[in-house]
């Protein structure tokens, strides 16, 4: 007996979009809401000026209420508004890291997979070294060297992130390169760079794309960790990890200052993971 057949689901357009995996749809919707919140933050935040350097000392550390859903922080800024603006920082970092490390990893991986031989060996051993090097420590060292900032976080994480895509792409590209149509192209005298670009690359991308969406959550977590350690964004940038860091000594008395930014990290990473899981389940079926 294999898996019991699922009842035929109605083919609504939304379902067809992501196959039938409801997890992928749920993750996509959740992530969509977060992206919208980030894009619209200046318009939907109740106190948009609190996303910046505004301070209201008279209203510091107010508990959650109708006027301030998530309460206010040490200098009287609305935590809800700052959490909304924080989504911009986190998503920007995630997109930048995934784009940079994905691009570097895919290029190196395709070259390694298609070329094989010593080229592949060299690239893969370098990849192994970067994989073995503890990512958080390398990011820490880089953040110390490069001065704390959002850009530093992006560079530091991207440097520790690309090897995963290089390794994945290399193994996929190697199997694509062994297929008949690649041989055919070679026999027709198509130059190697063109074969890689036109035939191997497009056919090696799908698993990497799925992996990228799975890794969004990991990037968000790592970025928040670096900021929490004081090595990323700095005041008054609204960044979730930084907000937890600045509020941690107040946790026992003013829980909302730490709880809501932490929840924001959790929910965003969760949305990426659910979407990625759903896509992977769909792909491996």
């Amino acid at each position: 007996m294999t898996a019991p057949a699922l009842p035929e689901l109605r083919r609504t357009p939304l379902r067809r979009l992501a196959g039938v995996d409801r997890l992928a749809v749920a993750g996509g919707v959740l992530l969509g809401i977060i992206v919208l919140a980030a894009l619209l933050a200046p318009w939907i935040a109740p106190y948009p000026e609190d996303g910046g350097s505004a301070t209201h000392p008279a209203e510091s550390l107010l508990p959650p209420s109708g006027a301030h859903w998530f309460g206010t922080d040490q200098v009287g800024r609305d935590v809800f508004s700052r959490v909304l603006f924080g989504a911009r920082t986190s998503l920007l970092i995630a997109v930048a890291v995934l784009a940079v490390s994905g691009a570097v990893g895919v290029v190196l991986g395709v070259v390694a997979g298609y070329a094989g031989g010593w080229v592949r060996d060299v690239i893969m051993r370098v990849t192994d070294v970067f994989l073995a090097f503890p990512a958080l420590l390398l990011s820490l060292a880089l953040a110390v060297v490069l001065q704390p900032s959002v850009t530093t976080v992006i560079v530091a994480i991207a440097i520790t992130w690309w090897p995963w895509y290089a390794r994945l792409t290399a193994s996929v590209a190697a199997s694509v390169a062994a297929r008949g149509f690649v041989d055919a192209a070679r026999c027709l005298g198509v130059p190697a760079p063109l074969i890689v670009l036109r035939h191997v690359l497009p056919n090696s991308l799908t698993p990497v794309l799925v992996q990228l969406s799975l890794d969004g959550g990991g990037v968000i977590l790592t970025a928040a960790t670096l900021s929490y350690l004081g090595l990323g964004a700095h005041e008054p940038t609204p960044e979730w990890g930084l907000m937890v860091h600045r509020g941690q000594s107040l946790f026992t008395t003013d829980w909302w200052v730490v709880t809501f930014p932490g929840l924001a990290i959790l929910v965003t990473a969760f949305a990426f993971n659910v979407l990625g899981e759903g896509l992977r389940a769909r792909l491996s079926r």
Binding site: A132, L136, L138, L221, T225, V244, T252, V258, A269, V274
Partner: protein, 338 residues
Amino acid sequence: MLRYLIRRLGQAVLVVAGVIVLTFAVMRLVPGDPAVAYAGPKATAAELAEARRRFGLDDPLPVQLWNYLSDLLRGDWGTSLHTRQPVRDDLFQAFPASLELVGAALIIALAVGVPLGVAAARYKGRLPDLSVRLSSMLAVSVPVFWLALALQTVFASGLGWFPVAGEYDTSLDRTSPLHLYTNITAVDALITGNWPILTSTLWHLVLPALVIAAYPAGVVAQMTRAALIEEASRDHARLERALGFGETAVLTRFALRPALNPVLSLIALVFAYSIVNGFLVEAVFNWPGLGRYAADSIRSLDTPAIAGVTLLVAVLYVVANLAVDLLQGVVDPRVRAR
């Protein structure tokens, strides 16, 4: 098998060498002059020159790299600038506490993750499956530093059920001193029958170990579920069903053992990850392990100590990877051909 072993060992040595070079490069990049950090801010020019000569900072870089490599091979990991002790001794002192914490976390992760994975596979596609999948995704999405702060605030500072910080109640050192053998407090207390310290240590372990366990428990549950579903679709499972075994029996009595193979290699791989993840948890709970040592070293720009921690973690990762590959090579001959 022997050829596979030699090739794999050779690769591991190459990777470790690469990590050493990378560590060296990163240490050179870190701002701040180790000579100044060692001699102190009030040092005279002569003292500074002496410190520079002592650390070989005047030599050309390739010479420094070579010296660094040969020192490492002779077991000299340098002298920490902030504890003024050999880095190797410091690491030997701090590592057992981290090992204790991560070991406890991985035990929790297996104890929670495997049964949940079994339950999810048993009720695949139904409510238990969905809730296990969602909660395991939640577990891998939670920021450890935040979870550590939250549990500490609620269950230690707030409700007072667990101690706030530390490895054990150090006032017990006077009434029932601990004899050290392995340097792992819980193990030493157990083998010497030191119950007060053992219970105190276990009590202190609960919260930080739970925080570190979240990530591995999530991935173990997912992996167990996936491996079980795969195993339960094989021919042997059809035979067992034909013989009249119920679905639960097929899963737990026959499919679970082969399905645990990938789970165990996964545990080896998340081990090094959990050590680094544990650094943040150690900081929150003031656990006397590698994390605190690393934090102190980073704060004082103690390059030899940072390099030591980095190398230790990297070597752990390489060794764990190697162990997994060799084990799989023994179990599955197809791996060797790759």
